[in-house]
């Protein structure tokens, strides 16, 4: 493949509200975004709540259509939502959300849900399906727990199950929208390690959305900073954090909590009475 796996050109997503009794207002959740993502690459998206990160993720995954510009996956624009072509594309693009308990059916064992996803895409019909589901669960560290129901798993285990379900379809691109934000640091580290291993193993591309700059730096090759729907800065992870160019990025980094009490004092001495 020559071009990037994902390409966004001048992408905007505008929402209209009011307009019946009140004056219509247009909110530009995403506005004029250009970005590319190569196969096997991780692009981190950071920004505050309301900056349009999640909308950008939905556009990148093709579960929302842009109001302006184009989103192309593997050199072809996403087909209209719910069309047959769009459904075929679903297998190749997966999304992992923040709250795994809302991403699963509480009434079904997790292995059934993984098989269900495979059935929807006609993968490994027959007996092979259960075997593949079990192999995926094994791969994410849930071997032998397939018959458990969601309420019998911890938050970290459930997020692993969601990852196994996504993986079972053999995707090329996964959008992770705050995928580790709800987890404890120790479990978060387990999941981040798992995602990195899976990327190396299957050549997955990730769009990694998080408000946690530390997490994003750890997983990303490149980072894009969003503010009010626009990309204000992007570049290699170390460059964006070590030499931020845009004032907003500088502001975000200045607001980070100190790494240690000693670092806090050093900062207080360097910048007395920081406003």
């Amino acid at each position: 493949m020559t071009g990037p796996l994902l390409r966004m050109d001048g992408v905007g997503r505008h929402y209209r509200s009011g307009g019946w009794l009140s004056r219509a207002t247009v909110t530009k959740a995403v506005d004029g975004v250009d970005l590319t993502l190569a196969a096997g690459e991780t692009l981190g998206i950071v920004g505050e709540s309301g900056s349009g990160k999640s909308t950008l993720g939905r556009l990148a995954a093709g579960i929302e259509m842009p109001s302006a510009g184009t989103v192309a996956f593997d050199d072809a624009p996403y087909a209209p939502i719910d069309s047959a072509a769009w459904r075929r594309q679903r297998r190749r693009v997966q999304v992992i959300f923040q709250n795994p308990s809302q991403a699963v059916d509480p009434r079904l064992p997790i292995v059934t849900q993984i098989c269900g996803a495979m059935a929807a895409h006609r993968i490994d019909p027959g007996a092979g399906r259960a075997g593949r589901a079990e192999a995926m669960l094994e791969r994410v560290g849930l071997g032998g727990l397939g018959s458990r129901y969601p309420h019998q798993l911890s938050g970290g285990q459930l997020q692993r199950a969601v990852i196994a379900r996504a993986l079972a379809l053999g995707p090329e691109f996964i959008v992770c929208d705050e995928a580790v934000s709800a987890l404890d640091v120790s479990v978060q580290a387990q999941i981040l390690n798992l995602l990195q291993d899976l990327q190396a193993e299957f050549g997955l591309a990730f769009l990694f959305i998080s408000h946690d700059l530390g997490v994003v730096r750890h997983v990303s090759h490149r980072i894009a900073v969003m503010q009010r729907g626009r990309l204000v800065e992007d570049g290699p992870a170390h460059a964006v954090f070590d030499r931020p160019q845009h004032p907003y990025t500088q502001q975000l980094i200045a607001a980070l909590p100190a790494a240690s009490p000693a670092a806090r004092r050093a900062r207080a001495t360097a910048r007395p009475a920081a406003a």
Partner: protein, 353 residues
């Protein structure tokens, strides 16, 4: 400068004081009970009839001191706070131990008496401000209500004071915002309202349970600075529950680490960060990620997850996840002094050398 100095030069990590100096001060405050602690929890056990959720927890917070309570979810941090506030709800109850506020025993007080203390002498800030506010009452009135009840102010005086408080916690256009409903404000603004409400009666103790977890970093930094400044001004003691060690580094004077219902390590913030003694604390420190630290490589993760209270292993509860676990760990380790300022419950404390 936004560093706190405790009233008695006690456990505060003060300004340019070297690590050793801070640690000694903390130790002195621990050994010498002369400055009466604002909050004193002793041998607190909380649970249901079937299972203990918080076990034998003892804590002390001096005036002007900030104690951070850290640990994974399900370790009993929030229950400890709720027990301190007398807010446990059946079937969970206090099974043993005592809670004293400035020397006054709170456990066993009736609900009527507790309601006079809560909001006036001690206040709590919860993680989700939007859920903690009344959605159908203007925010200014919610703050004024506390002042009318506890300080017997007139409606007019209370409203005026609420606006002053809004100004103090950094809400722009306080008079206009006081007339807003919670849904008209952002999460950060609602949390400022909660802080204004907590500060309204200048309490001796503020308990903040993940008060900044739901906020953006920039808002979080503002709120932390604000709480620190207000604490300096009125000398309030704070118990701050968080799972974010960055926040701990930012505001704590002392730290208590909880695991599966027990305190496994306590000490000055410098001591715990420089030389974490318990393998669990070490694990938490190792899986931290900071945007300004060079990235790459695999993260040190703590394997497994916190056991359910009913499935808590005998002896040291951490032994099922601990790299150092061996035979002695089947006996429950007691909290014992470690280094200059710390206490740790582990048979093999400190980093292996």
């Amino acid at each position: 400068m936004s560093l706190s100095v405790t009233e008695n030069g006690g456990a505060g990590a003060t300004g340019a004081v070297a690590h050793l100096g801070g640690a000694t001060a903390a130790l002195a405050a621990q050994r010498n009970p002369a400055p009466q602690p604002v909050l004193e929890i002793e041998g607190l056990t909380v649970g249901t009839d079937r299972v203990d959720l918080v076990l034998d927890v003892s804590l002390r917070v001096a005036p002007g001191e900030t104690l951070c309570l850290v640990g994974e979810s399900g370790c009993g941090k929030s229950l400890t706070c709720l027990a301190a506030m007398g807010l446990l709800a059946a079937p969970v109850r206090r099974k043993a131990g005592s809670v004293r506020l400035s020397g006054v025993e709170l456990s066993g007080l009736g609900e009527r008496r507790l309601r006079q203390v809560r909001g006036r002498d001690m206040a709590m800030i919860f993680q989700d401000p939007v859920a903690s506010l009344n959605p159908v009452q203007r925010v200014g009135q919610q703050v004024a209500e506390a002042l009318r009840v506890h300080e017997a102010l007139s409606q007019k005086a209370a409203s005026r004071r609420a606006v002053e408080l809004f100004d103090k916690v950094g809400i722009a256009e306080p008079a206009r915002r006081a007339d807003a409903y919670p849904h008209e404000l952002s999460g950060g603004m609602c949390q400022r309202v909660m802080i204004a409400m907590a500060l309204a009666c200048r309490p001796r103790l503020i308990v903040a349970d993940e008060a900044t977890t739901a906020l953006d970093v920039t808002t979080q930094a503002q709120i932390l600075r604000l709480m620190k400044a207000l604490q300096e001004e009125i000398g309030t003691a704070m118990v701050f529950v968080t799972h974010d060690l960055g926040v701990v580094a930012e505001i704590a004077d002392s730290v208590a680490v909880m695991y599966s219902g027990r305190i496994v390590e306590t000490g000055s913030v410098d001591g715990v960060f420089d030389a974490p003694a318990h393998p669990y604390t070490q694990g938490l420190m190792d899986c931290r990620l900071h945007a300004l630290a060079a990235a790459g490589g695999r993260l040190a993760a703590i394997s497994g997850s916190v056991p359910r209270p009913a499935e808590r292993p005998s002896g040291c509860a951490f032994r099922t996840r601990c790299p150092k676990a061996s035979l002695p760990c089947e006996r429950l380790p007691m909290l014992a002094p470690f280094g200059a300022s710390q206490r740790v419950a582990c048979h093999f404390p400190g980093r292996a050398t």
